[in-house]
Amino acid sequence: MRPGKMLREVLGSIFKKPATNLYPAQKLDMPDRFRGKLKFYPERCIGCKMCMRDCPTNAITINKVADNKFEAVFDLSRCIYCAQCVDSCPKKALEPTKEVELAQLDKNKLRVVFSYKENK
């Protein structure tokens, strides 16, 4: 029983690389299943609005722009990135991405619209 039991480990750390990640110079790679910002495929959406029913915070709104064409409006400040909408969608029109750097200075930029683009 003596003090300083961690001495050997601590001295060994001088020769190791520090365990700190030098963000933002070094950015980390997120794993595959990471739940970041969501992506919406307007061509697959059928307007059933199951995602709106299941969202815990009412972060997603589906608007009808034309017959059988829908757009999605996300409020990123309300989204909790749980990806329940991804599971609820019967047509797999929503997908999580790995994007996590979503901070903005202007609150209006947090309202993201995925509009319907015509297929040429």
């Binding site: 039991k5 961690m6 601590v10 001295l11 001088i14 700190t20």
Partner: protein, 313 residues
């Protein structure tokens, strides 16, 4: 006269000492971080902290005694810097020396602790009062081993003057190796003076928010932190002279480099000790100091007395 003014204000006095104190704080924090497998602060961190604190507002609590509250940091800083002028650094001479200046230097190093107590007590907030009282209780524990360790080296040299100690050890090389036990004791006690783990009880962040420093902000806090850094340099310089008095009669530049290396060595030992132990409780610290450090210091004193009788009659 001009030479003495330069000594006091520029080199190695005020300007050099403050810069060296900042460099010492950086080295201490960097070594502490690297030992914990982290990156640590950049080289300008202590300077940046000082400038930031100077730019903040000074808040004086309404219930406190404003005069004592404001004077305490300046008093602490002034006495720590004054102690530096009596210590020979890289040659045998210091700026002023007389017989008995070992005691004066140790006394001048005790004054900052008293100033911390006064500042904390007159802050009248609960955390400050508890922290300041703890500062003084800690003084009971570490002061005696510190004094005994340093005086054991002075005993071997048969003098109370720092200059004469330097002269004695320069005349008899390798004799300083007799004092290594005293060095270990003085180093552990120095941790108590500098309020570093395991003896950072007055400033324990998780118990009393910042101890005696709780109510300070702005310029006064900047000076208090600088006092701790300057105390580290002064304490290390004192230990370096008393326990490692070699290289004092060489060419000044080489002597200066040797002095820097000695100080850095002592600072790294302090950082290492700070990393590997937890904080002790007050009663455990007093127990430890009086049960273990003081008998070892007595042993060192007896050994030195015997050596003096045998070799240096």
């Amino acid at each position: 006269m001009l030479g003495e003014l330069v000594y006091i204000f520029i080199f190695p006095g005020f300007v050099f000492l403050i810069n060296f104190a900042w460099i010492a704080e950086f080295i201490d924090r960097k070594i502490y971080a690297r030992l914990q497998n982290r990156v640590g602060p950049p080289w300008f961190q202590p300077v940046a902290d000082f400038i930031k604190l100077l730019s903040k507002e000074d808040i004086v609590p309404a219930a406190s005694n404003p005069k004592m509250f404001k004077i305490a940091p300046l008093f602490a800083l002034a006495s720590a810097i004054t102690a530096f002028f009596y210590i020979p650094l890289w040659k045998v001479d210091a700026l002023f020396s007389f017989n008995g200046d070992v005691i004066v230097v140790l006394y001048l190093l005790t004054l900052p602790t008293l100033a911390f107590f006064i500042g904390g007590w007159y802050s009248t907030s609960l955390y400050s009062r508890i922290g300041s009282v703890r500062s003084l209780m800690q003084l009971f524990a570490y002061e005696v081993p510190l004094f005994m360790g340093i005086l054991s080296s002075a005993l071997l040299a048969d003098t109370w003057s720092l200059r004469e100690i330097a002269v004695f050890y320069t005349r008899h090389p390798y004799v300083w190796m007799f004092n290594l036990l005293g060095f270990a004791i003085a180093l552990v006690s120095l941790l108590g003076k500098l309020e570093k783990v395991p003896f950072d009880i007055p400033e324990a962040e998780t118990e009393v928010v910042a101890g005696g420093f709780t109510e300070y902000s702005g310029r006064m806090l900047a000076f208090l932190r600088m006092t701790l850094d300057v105390e580290m340099i002064v304490g290390s310089a004192l230990l370096a002279l008393v326990f490692f008095p070699f290289g004092l009669n060489l060419h000044p530049v080489i002597g200066f480099l040797i002095f820097i290396i000695k100080i850095l060595f002592i600072i790294s030992l302090v950082s290492l000790l700070r990393t590997v132990v937890a904080r002790l409780r007050m009663d455990q610290m007093i127990n430890f100091c009086w049960k273990y450090l003081v008998p070892l210091a007595l042993l060192q004193l007896l050994f030195n007395l015997a050596m003096k009788g045998i070799f240096f009659r």
